[in-house]
Amino acid sequence: MTNVSSTISSGAPNVTPPPAARKRLPLQWLGVMPFFIFALMFLILPTAYLVIGAFQNNQGEFTFENIAALSQPTIVSAYWISIRISLASSVIGALAGFAIALAIVRGGLPKWARPATMTFSGVASNFAGVPLAFAFLATLGRLGLVTVGLRAIGIDIYSLGFTILSFWGLTLTYLFFQIPLMVVIITPAIDGLKKEWGEAAATLGATTSQYWRMVAIPVIWPSFLGTVVLLFANAFGAIATAYALTGSSLNIVPILLYAQIRGDVLHNPHLGYALAFGMIMITGLANVLYIWFRTRSERWLK
């Protein structure tokens, strides 16, 4: 703005003097001010407060002590189980979601299959939180329909070591929103695989497996990995389902942070900040990877 007005006024001395131009600049910014103030006050500053607090001691001096204190066994095991659950549910969710998306786009299923699946995926990917935990308790809890049904035919999954309050129990539950999210995101990417590529490959004598290995998978790969990290972040920050399912018996990071906010269970508020900082670092990293993969995939899928 300033550059434009200065070139104009130097070229033609009679045009509106710079003060008027200077007055327009803040007016233009006025239009986006509410948004930026809101984002600053309720998104950026609260997060920055925690991040700065993670590097301070009780006297407000700079320190790495809190970050170092994250290495105590309870916290490390909480991060570890959180990462494992997020990783398992995102990788399995992505593979299953990809298979379903492939089936409805390329599988020659009846016409209704695709819109029905897409609609259902839209609903299921938003059906999370406490009610999802209830649904899985009613299915695979001790009195759940599947548990009771399997017991009737002689398979007692609980005596085989399964419990809904475990790593696999929680992973299986998370898949209920992870798989549909994958279907919603990856279906357009599969649509983007052009028919001509398949025809060109066939003309050149490629087999189906060669087409997949050398054409389709390399093109889909960045979208696939990008969605995996998105699902990872999605599972990593989730708390309501896990909390309603397991109470505080499963020690994942969001539940530990929840207990810390409620009652300072770590006996050090700044350690709580460090815990939150660690969460932001992990989900932040996942999203950086997501953006990177997405820009790579957009090269092909236009």
């Binding site: 406490v130 308790l137 932001i280």
Partner: protein
């Protein structure tokens, strides 16, 4: 290159069973409250519970205010960015994506530390203030979805021409946004609104940590203390989510197609 039809069917059926068995099981479980027969007793108990009515009502009101705040925040901003400051778009888009990067529990933790009773802006000092903070928190959670919906809606109209025409006729900014832009992107705004509703209605983390009597914490409480009511509540919640998504689908049929990209 087609996928074999057998594998497509196999995948589809396995997938469908994974998704439908829990729904059927939950429904079946919710009918088992009376010993030895199927009944809607659990639903009757849930609907008759005054805490259900109170918390659900509270969450509906909070959701409505969240939607209003979201619309007030997003529509003028997205409009202004498209009209006057397109170079700011990447920055604004990045900010609207932040709530997907920063987990809700971290955001609300920040609120609790920043806006406590002894802070310069003591939202948490009063009940009303805490309600306002909860609405603000929900508006940030809904920001990614609301912004995307509105921005997609704005793409289908010629913002610059509409604005010029309105200005020539003497309209001010409030008139332009309220009576020209908003009605034109109303369907997009409503889609964002119903998605926001679906997200906010059963939200647990923020409401619980801010100690507000919302539907999410009530669900959790019932889950910890009752046997059959949780299943009924899960069925009700699924129906609400389904309802919101169906409305969005129906609305999208009325949405004008993009002028630059006609389908």
């Amino acid at each position: 290159m087609k996928v074999s039809r057998f594998w497509a069917w196999a995948t589809f059926i396995v997938g469908a069973s994974y998704f439908f068995i829990p729904l059927i099981a939950t429904f079946e479980f919710s009918l088992r409250m009376k010993r030895g027969e199927y009944s809607f007793e659990a639903y009757r108990v849930v609907f008759a519970d005054p805490r259900f009515q109170a918390t659900f009502g509270y969450s509906v009101v909070v959701a409505i205010f969240t939607i209003l705040l979201g619309v007030l925040l997003v529509v003028p901003t997205a409009y202004w960015i498209r009209l006057r400051m397109p170079w700011l778009r990447p920055i604004v888009e990045f900010i609207t994506l932040l709530p997907l990067i920063i987990p809700a529990i971290v955001i609300v933790f920040g609120y609790i530390r920043m806006y406590g009773s002894n802070s310069p802006l003591p939202f948490l000092a009063s009940v009303r203030g805490t309600d306002v903070l909860l609405i603000i928190g929900y508006a940030t959670l809904a920001l990614p979805y609301m912004y995307r919906a509105v921005d997609t809606g704005l793409r289908t109209i010629d913002v610059a021409t509409l604005t010029e025409a309105a200005q020539i006729l003497g309209a001010g900014w409030v008139t332009i946004i309220g009576r020209i832009i908003l009605p034109n992107v109303l369907i997009a705004v409503l889609s964002g609104a119903f998605l926001t509703f679906a997200i906010v209605i059963g939200e647990f983390t923020m409401a619980s940590l801010l100690n507000r009597p919302a539907f999410g914490p009530y669900l959790q409480l019932i889950g910890a203390n009752r046997a059959y009511e949780p299943a009924a509540l899960a069925v009700i919640s699924f129906a609400i989510t389904w309802g919101c998504m169906s409305v969005i689908q129906v609305l999208s049929r009325f949405a004008p197609k993009s002028a630059n990209n006609p389908n």
